[in-house]
Amino acid sequence: MADQPTASERFIQGILPENPVFRQLLGLCPALAVTANMKSAVTMTGAVLFVLFCANVITSLIRDLLKPHLRIVVFTLTIATFVTIADRFLAAYLYQMSKTLGPYIPLIIVNCIIICRCEVCASKQSVFVAGADAIGQSIGFGLAVSAIAAVREILGTGNFFDIPVLPAAWPDWVVMILPPGAFLTFGLLIGLVNWFETVKASSQASEVLTPAESEGS
């Protein structure tokens, strides 16, 4: 257990280095379905944060009691409970948003981010680490869906959080708020992330190489 990451490492990693959407390609269903505007993306992030945090904490608390072959059942049970709570809560206090998000809140149950974090982190590490991991991953998820939603909402409607940010002459790219826009934006952003990664890797590689080369000569 000595090589398990610490709480702060878990937190940091979730945000960018192991970003659930762009690096792990998990939770793509909401990333594509609820990113037509910032409001629903942020609400979705909130729901994910709530469910992930609760599920991680509960799983971590009972981690010593888990039987390996029953762990998925327990994860699913826990997740489903908190998803249902989140869903009811939205229906009660954010009725319009709950209608917009439609089936995607219940679908958090099968969102791989959560089951993945329970499996990878919470079932092995302490409550504190699991909680930090949940927050880190949720922030990462939030950043990713917000990035997609920002592009789609701004290009698609000229608005950001429903506030006009582009001049009225802006021709709305309706395609961006339609499903094809989600796929396009997502694909292009992943490409961008990978490109950054390659550039970073190659610059690091050349840094490593340079002293070796000078030694060689």
Binding site: I62, L70, L77, T84, R88, F89
Partner: protein, 210 residues
């Protein structure tokens, strides 16, 4: 052997069972707490619209404080041997019948369009139109949501079927079609025409009967 097997089963699954019971309790508690709020939300969604469709947006807020009464009814209509049911909301102001609101739906360009239509008590004119649900082309067909376009239906007589026309509407029963979305415009108009044809007589009779 069986006893041992059973014991084994419980030793394996006790955690799942305990969790299931705990979570079940939690959910039941949530439902008791939030259930009524959600129910109200659902009813309000339609009912909030009803006064606007009968009295117009300006009057609706003033009136809602006073003695307004909304009764959901279900009206059956026999049509070509088939029975069609409409959800109709009877609106009363200070005990007097103020108008009717009916939910109606029909095929649009992309998917089903669902609307609420308001009528005066005698079913002679349209007092309002609201689109509840639609999936028309953004930028074209979904202009049926816009107030300006829906406003055209206000005070239209139910005597003659409405007609969407391209360009400028001139006759009293004509509606400006949305440019580039004639099909969506026609779909909404058709929904209204059907609802009028089906409900005009039964509701007018009801109003007289009261």
């Amino acid at each position: 052997m069986t006893a041992q097997g059973k014991a084994n089963f419980f030793s394996q699954a006790w955690l799942v069972l305990v969790l299931a019971i705990c979570f079940g309790g939690l959910l039941a508690g949530m439902q008791i707490l939030l259930g009524p709020i959600i129910e109200t939300n659902k009813i309000n969604e339609t009912l909030e619209r009803v006064p606007v469709l009968v009295f117009g947006a300006a009057h609706a807020t003033e009136l809602s404080q006073s003695g307004m009464e909304i009764n959901p009814l279900s009206v059956g209509v026999e049509k070509a041997g088939k029975s069609v049911r409409y959800n109709v909301y009877e609106t009363k102001s200070d005990g007097k019948l103020a108008g009717w609101v009916t939910k109606s739906a029909g095929q649009g360009y992309a998917d089903k369009i669902e609307v609420l239509i308001g009528f005066d008590p005698r079913m002679e004119k349209i007092t309002g139109l609201f689109v509840l649900d639609q999936k028309e082309t953004p930028g074209l067909g979904n202009k049926i949501l816009e107030d300006g376009w829906r406003g055209q239906f206000l005070d239209k007589s139910t005597a003659k079927p409405l007609m969407p026309v391209k360009g400028k509407a001139t006759a009293s029963n004509e509606i400006d079609a949305i440019t580039g979305a004639t099909i969506s415009s026609k779909a909404v108009t058709d929904i209204i025409n059907t609802a009028v044809a089906d409900l005009r007589e039964p509701l007018a009779d009801k109003a007289k009967g009261k």
